[in-house]
């Protein structure tokens, strides 16, 4: 019987079966097609690729070193601003966006700041998803005490405003040896993941609770699939859509948190090593710019524009993913 359904050997009677061999359209393929049809989402993806390229190739793109100090060049205006009779502050084509209070090139610092935003957006996702999916799956599938514990824990986390928690974490642990790892980035990753995994766990729990009553799970159990197999092969792939959407919205959230902390003076620590990979962040530049708002407004404006653009980019993609992965949205 199996023989009857087998595909014909190549070159043998293929023409007759051509209609049956139409290219298969998978669920994910359909979602992708819906995503690329969404103009805003495509624009967002292009912007993200652009920022990612800036981050990766920062040393090649940046015209100056991010920590390089040009004496007698402090608070230089952007290149297009011409201040007559003030040679020290008038625009200079070699400093496209001007310089900061120490005479460092704003554009180069912005380009290096992209790196910080990108890693802060992406790296905490890994522990967040690992822990969140594991706990959520366990809570939803096993239920009982594990589930109860998770829900009580989320109550506490939800009552603790996330931003306040980050602020306290950074204030308290910034000066410890642990807080100094990677200029403080490591502490930020930990803090962000500590809060974010809870919403992932809740999401996965909800998915698992509704999915585990479905017929296909029952069928899998009937043919003797183990719990592990059901969780990994059936429940996980079927809850992947909402997880992806939630992740897409977590990235801009983390980037914004870093920017706010940087603006409060709780972001990255100033590097001691001149070749540090993450010398500054957009939030920290905002703080420097805020102090010099009248001397060089572009020091504040430029990083603010960057933050706004990257937030919009990730939100567009997130919105697009949500529409693409939820076929019910299409009318």
């Amino acid at each position: 019987m199996a023989v009857a359904t087998r595909r014909p050997a190549p070159g043998k009677n293929v023409l007759a079966l051509d209609f049956a061999l139409r290219k298969e359209r998978s669920l994910w393929g359909d979602a992708w097609r819906r995503l690329v049809r969404n103009k805003a989402a495509v624009l967002g993806m292009v912007m993200i690729v652009f920022f990612a390229a800036l981050a990766v190739f920062a040393p090649l793109i940046a015209p100056h070193g991010p920590l390089e100090i040009y004496s007698n060049n402090a608070f230089r205006a952007p290149a297009w601003v011409h201040i007559a009779g003030d040679a020290a502050h008038t625009g200079d084509p070699s400093f496209l966006l001007g310089t900061d209070s120490l005479g460092r090139d704003v554009l180069s610092r912005l380009i290096y700041g992209t790196r910080t935003s990108m890693v802060v957006g992406l790296v905490p996702l890994i522990p967040t998803l690992l822990i969140g999916i594991t706990v959520g799956m366990a809570a939803g599938y096993i239920g009982g005490r594990v589930d109860n514990l998770l829900m009580r824990f989320t109550d506490v986390v939800y009552a603790f405003p996330g931003l306040l928690f980050f602020v306290i974490m950074m204030t308290a642990l910034r000066d410890t040896s642990f807080g100094k790892l990677l200029n403080g980035l490591f502490l930020l990753f930990i803090s962000l993941s500590l809060v974010a995994w809870v919403s992932v766990a809740r999401l996965v729990r909800g998915q698992v609770l509704s999915l585990k009553e479905k017929e296909f799970v029952e069928a899998a159990r009937m043919i003797g699939a183990s719990d592990w197999c059901i969780m990994l092969r059936h429940l996980l792939p079927n809850s992947l859509g909402p997880i992806i959407v939630a992740s897409a919205f977590m990235i801009p959230g983390s980037i914004m948190t870093e920017a706010i902390l940087g603006f409060l003076g709780l972001g990255l620590r100033p590097p001691t090593n001149p070749r540090a990979p993450f010398p500054t962040s957009w939030g920290s530049i905002c703080l420097e710019g805020y102090a010099a708002i009248n001397a060089q407004p572009w020091l504040l404006l430029a990083p603010a524009i960057c933050i706004a653009l990257i937030m919009l980019a990730f939100t567009f993609v997130g919105d697009g993913l949500r529409d693409a992965l939820d076929p019910r949205m299409i009318e």
């Binding site: 931003l163 306290i168 204030t171 642990l173 409060l264 905002c286 937030m311």
Partner: protein, 311 residues
């Protein structure tokens, strides 16, 4: 229902306890004592430090300090500030809170006045330019962080146009409140616009709207009495948490515009390592959030009988 309320209320106790514990542990994990955090100042001599420690109860074992703190906090006593000499944290909070509450209420009012009509009109004129503008506003308003928007507005209105000053010191007049309230409220306005649009769109297709139209009611009466009354329920239920968010989230806007509210107090306390102030403010924020969440749950309990049954 009563039983459910009591249970929800009692559950707040461990929540507050945990928030206090986490904050306490983190504050004490910070290197250095409260008296030597400023490297610019000369070191406090050991004898003075001992006196200070005794006065603030810091010579007791940590667990006792914590229990004392929780016991006092439960009675509304948050202890003396480490930096503002002779001031109690709860007095400072009482003094600063009205400013923050005023800012939050102004922002909420702005969010309702802008967001609601935008959402409702967008739904009534679906797929016209009003609708597209409302969707655009909703997307940008939620995506762009309020402090980035604040930076744009400060540069435009203070640096370039000189309509307001960055260093505002007179908060008795109305003018300096406008920008911070607008900036703080934009995210909420966008959310309200999105929510009221979608809930109006749902209502528009309901049978009772068709019935009202069939019996010849004027369009005005249909919109005001039949559509809005039903469409506004979800919007009303989010107002409480929205206000809580505005109040607890305003510290960055207060810092940006130098508003003398609770949020700026908090940021100053952080920069000065005023631990009792940080703890007190955090707890206060947590109480606001927990109480509004509880309020929402209770309203839902009244509005939706299914929740009562399941609990």
């Amino acid at each position: 229902m009563i039983k459910y309320l009591i249970r929800r209320f009692l559950w707040l106790v461990p929540v507050f306890f945990t928030v206090a514990l986490v904050t306490f542990v983190l504050m004490h994990a910070a290197p250095g004592g409260p008296w030597d955090t400023d490297p610019m100042m000369r070191k406090v001599d050991p004898r003075t430090e001992a006196v200070l420690n005794r006065r603030y109860g810091l010579d007791k074992p940590l667990w006792q300090q914590f229990l004392d703190y929780v016991w006092n906090a439960a009675q509304g006593k948050l202890g003396p500030s480490y930096r503002l000499r002779g001031r109690q944290v709860e007095d400072v909070l009482r003094e600063r809170f009205p400013t923050t509450a005023k800012l939050g209420l102004l922002a909420l009012a702005m969010a309702i006045v802008v967001g609601l009509p935008l959402g409702v009109i967008a739904a009534l004129r679906q797929n016209t330019w009003v609708d597209y503008f409302s969707l655009f506003f909703a997307t940008v308003g939620t995506a762009v962080p309020s402090f980035v928007l604040g930076i744009f507005l400060i540069i435009i209105f203070a640096s370039w146009l000189h309509w307001v000053t960055v260093l505002e010191s007179d908060w008795s007049s109305f003018k300096p409140w406008i920008l911070p309230a607008v900036v703080l409220g934009v995210g909420t306005a966008a959310y309200i616009a999105r929510l009221s649009r979608s809930s109006m769109l749902e209502v528009i297709r309901q049978d009772y709207v068709r019935t009202a139209r069939a019996k010849g009611l004027s369009e005005r009466a249909i919109i005001l009495q039949h559509m809005l009354q039903n469409a506004l329920i979800p919007v009303v239920t989010i107002l409480g948490p929205a206000l809580a968010n505005l109040i607890t989230g305003s510290f960055i806007i207060e810092t940006l515009f130098r508003v003398p509210g609770m949020g700026r107090l908090y940021v100053t306390a952080i920069n000065q390592r005023d631990y009792s102030m940080i703890m007190g403010t955090t707890l206060f924020y947590a109480v606001i959030i927990a109480l509004t969440n509880l309020g929402v749950d209770i309203t839902y309990g009244f509005l939706d009988p299914r929740i009562k049954a399941s609990e």
